[in-house]
């Protein structure tokens, strides 16, 4: 007796609803055994992971603060992934956005000009776009692989930031430590809810998610990209320009990631320093897939990812769980989510050896999407 994966004729609606529930169940059961084996009360761990991070206004503010960069990067990435454009360098575009926007902030110094913040945000967006334009140009002009180019540009952006804070932008009163001066009051984003750290960035991010949804569902540009992703041959036959899709996908992601970068440094950090992101641009790749590459889904993906980060911290502080275990638990949930999603478009079919004449369709990343 053997099992094979068989593509469903139509994605299963019932599975689409059941998939997150199945994933949660799988996670709960595995977590129960894992934590019991470690001698920890699983109920308390679940409480710390999923309830404590939501138990006060401040905590919810933290959740939204961490959601912001994940959502912004996830939105841009999802758009590209839908069109089969594999930008994995959102982290670099985020860094460049922070550099460009932060540079404007430093240029304004302590000025209380009303132009400071709009120009910083604009510079952040442009910084990210310019960084994403490099792989777009190389791909459309020389057919280079955008996966490699975007990834390599991450390290270049990080080194550029490191050089700036070690050199020209180093705080002259900072005893040579590698960080810039703190931004002035007008160069720091105002807080959305008093007593929290969450800024207007989350409002921009949610607004952009709505815009992305409208664009992908209701405009021809969105349609062209979707076709290019699902059926490249059909898109080519219809005369949809692949080059245009590449440019749009990369520039949009550069813009959102750049905005994420400037929101981070002009928000909770308040200066430029060597490390500004704990890897939001990479985590956003998972966020995009959890959200099934749908703008509204990405909102939930980003919220979940953010909750898992905060929950992991709470479990460390509250129960002395090692961070490796909290990381393992986070990975488990993501694994179950993505695994359960597979069964929306595939079903498990039982076959007898005799029946196995020719191999059934191979599962690839493309077909699973």
């Amino acid at each position: 007796m053997m099992f094979v994966l068989e593509r469903r004729a139509n994605p299963s609606f019932r599975m689409a609803i059941a998939s997150p529930i199945l994933a949660a169940l799988g996670m709960m059961v595995t977590g129960f055994f894992l934590f019991s084996a470690l001698g920890k009360d699983p109920v308390e761990v679940f409480y710390l992971f999923f309830v404590k991070p939501l138990s006060s206004t401040y905590d919810i503010g933290e959740l939204l603060l961490k959601t912001t960069p994940l959502l912004l990067c996830g939105l841009g990435l999802a758009m590209g992934f839908r069109a089969n454009i594999w930008n994995i360098g959102a982290e670099g575009q985020l860094t460049m956005g922070a550099i460009a926007g932060g540079g404007v902030a430093l240029w304004f110094g302590d000025s209380d000009s009303m132009w400071a913040m709009p120009l910083m945000l604009l510079a952040g967006v442009l910084g990210g776009m310019i960084w994403a334009a490099i792989p777009a140009y190389l791909r459309t002009r020389f057919n280079t692989n955008e996966i490699l180019v975007t990834l390599m540009l991450v390290y270049i952006a990080q080194l550029a930031l490191s050089w700036l804070v070690h050199g020209p932008w180093r705080d002259p009163e900072g005893q040579n430590y590698p960080q810039s001066r703190g931004f002035g009051d007008a160069e720091t984003m105002s807080v959305l809810i008093d007593g929290t750290r969450v800024t207007w960035g989350i409002v921009y991010a949610l607004g952009l998610a709505l815009v992305a949804w409208v664009v992908s569902q209701k405009t021809i540009a969105g349609f062209r990209m979707q076709v290019a992703g699902m059926a490249p041959a059909a898109a080519a036959y219809a005369g949809f320009s692949e080059k245009r899709n590449i440019w749009i996908a990369l520039l949009v992601c550069g813009a959102t990631a750049g905005l994420a970068g400037i929101c981070e440094v002009a928000g909770p950090i308040g200066r430029l320093q060597q490390q500004i992101s704990p890897g939001y641009g990479f985590a956003a790749i998972i966020v995009a897939w959890i959200g099934r590459l749908h703008p509204i889904g990405v909102i939930f993906g980003a919220l979940l990812m953010s909750l898992l980060y905060l929950g992991g911290e709470a479990a460390q502080m509250g129960m002395s769980l090692p961070s490796a275990i909290t990381g393992l638990f986070q990975g488990l949930l993501l694994f179950y989510l993505l695994a359960a999603d597979l069964f929306i478009t595939f079903r498990l079919k039982r076959v007898r050896p005799a029946e196995r004449i020719d191999p059934k369709p191979v599962v690839t990343l493309k077909s699973a999407a």
Binding site: V51, Q175, N176, G267
Partner: protein, 364 residues
């Protein structure tokens, strides 16, 4: 939420009960002490030494305290949340064990004026923030003493993390220690721009050895350079922890930290109410915060004697690593003859120059 409420209720009722009987609420609950780590507790270096000290602290203080730690806390916007949460959870003494936590600590300390914060290697104090720092330069001077005597090529190497003052002092003092024994040595630095990256550190060590550096010091956290030296038959020096198990033939000595004495002293101060803010404490070999890793038996007795004598002189205060005349590698005089640069000098906290004997220029 439910659990939290229950817990709060429980605590309140215990407190109320004690209030009614003895009135001694303060001594009823153990002092909560928290540690925030940049890396994992088993990193084999920096963070592990802090966590070992935390365990010694717990052992020494018994049920008078309760410790918590959070590992892998990045120096991004996240650290501020961790500090706030620890303070809100009732921790009264919080040790922040990485330099990059400095700005978040400034913000959180204002929100929690009754919580005491201790920051390693920083420079911003406050009424409830103190800074503590080992005199690494003493350990590196002693490393230089050995390296200067053991080198056959008269070429030393140094794997640097970031060219910030506290690291610059280490390459400078290692070079000064070596020059005091062997005026012919030159020092080759490589900066890897990371605290921990075994791949990059390995590459740097291989490059330095290929350029003839047969004694390599490091200010990065992994044992990679010790392993490379073991493979190539050259010498290396550990930092933070004793890494001789990674290269028993290669590691000559190393500078390690024992934070437990300081942690115990500070915790006692909080318990008896004598803790004050706005301090900057530096402890070295004398106080036992800097501890040299065991000397490799390959070192000849004469060299060991020089090492031990130098160490005794540093402990007695007779020898200071940065005693003039010292000029930088462009010839400019940095410390005049007859004076010594010590940690009370502003110049000490902003060292950004190579002493004579180091090749190249400081990366900007």
């Amino acid at each position: 939420m439910q659990l939290n409420k229950k817990w709060k209720f429980l605590r309140l009722s215990i407190a109320a009960g004690l209030l009614a009987t003895s009135g001694a609420v303060a001594s009823a609950e153990p002092l909560k002490v928290a540690f925030v780590y940049l890396g994992p507790v088993k990193d084999g270096g920096w963070t592990q030494m802090h966590d070992e000290a935390r365990q010694k602290l717990e052992k020494a203080m018994g049920d008078k305290i309760k410790t918590t730690f959070v590992e892998n806390v990045p120096e991004t916007a996240d650290s501020e949340r961790v500090f706030r949460q620890l303070a809100a959870d009732g921790n009264k003494l919080i040790f922040a064990t990485s330099f990059g936590y400095m700005e978040p600590l400034q913000k959180v300390s204002k929100v929690f004026p009754n919580v005491k914060f201790e920051h390693v290697n920083g420079f911003k104090t406050a009424p409830n923030i103190v800074v503590y720092e080992p005199r690494f330069e003493e350990g590196f001077y002693l490393i230089g003493t050995i390296a200067g005597q053991m080198t056959k090529t008269n070429t030393l190497g140094f794997i640097g993390s970031f060219p910030i003052p506290s690291v610059m002092r280490n390459i400078d003092s290692m070079t000064l220690g070596a020059l005091a024994q062997n005026p012919k040595v030159t020092m080759k630095p490589i900066w890897v721009n990371t605290w921990y990256d075994p791949g990059k550190e390995r590459q740097a060590a291989e490059t330095l050895i290929a350029q003839g550096a047969d004694n390599v010091g490091q200010n990065t956290d992994s044992p990679a350079s010790i392993q490379v030296a073991q493979e190539k038959g050259t010498y290396a020096f550990s930092i933070d922890a004793d890494m001789s198990s990674f290269g028993p033939k290669a590691q000559l000595t190393g500078t390690t930290e024992d934070w437990s004495g300081y942690y115990i002293a500070e915790t006692k101060k909080v318990l008896d109410g004598s803790w004050t803010g706005n301090r900057h404490t530096r402890w070295g070999l004398k106080e036992g915060m800097v501890v040299m890793a065991p000397l490799n038996p390959v070192i000849p007795p004469a060299a060991v004697k020089v090492f031990e004598d130098t160490k005794a002189k540093i402990i007695s205060g007779e020898l200071k690593p940065f005693v003039g005349p010292i000029s930088d590698n462009t010839g400019a005089v940095k410390v005049a003859a007859g004076t010594a640069m010590t940690d009370t000098d502003a110049a000490f906290n902003s060292v950004n120059w190579y002493v004579k004997g180091i090749e190249g220029s400081v990366p900007q």
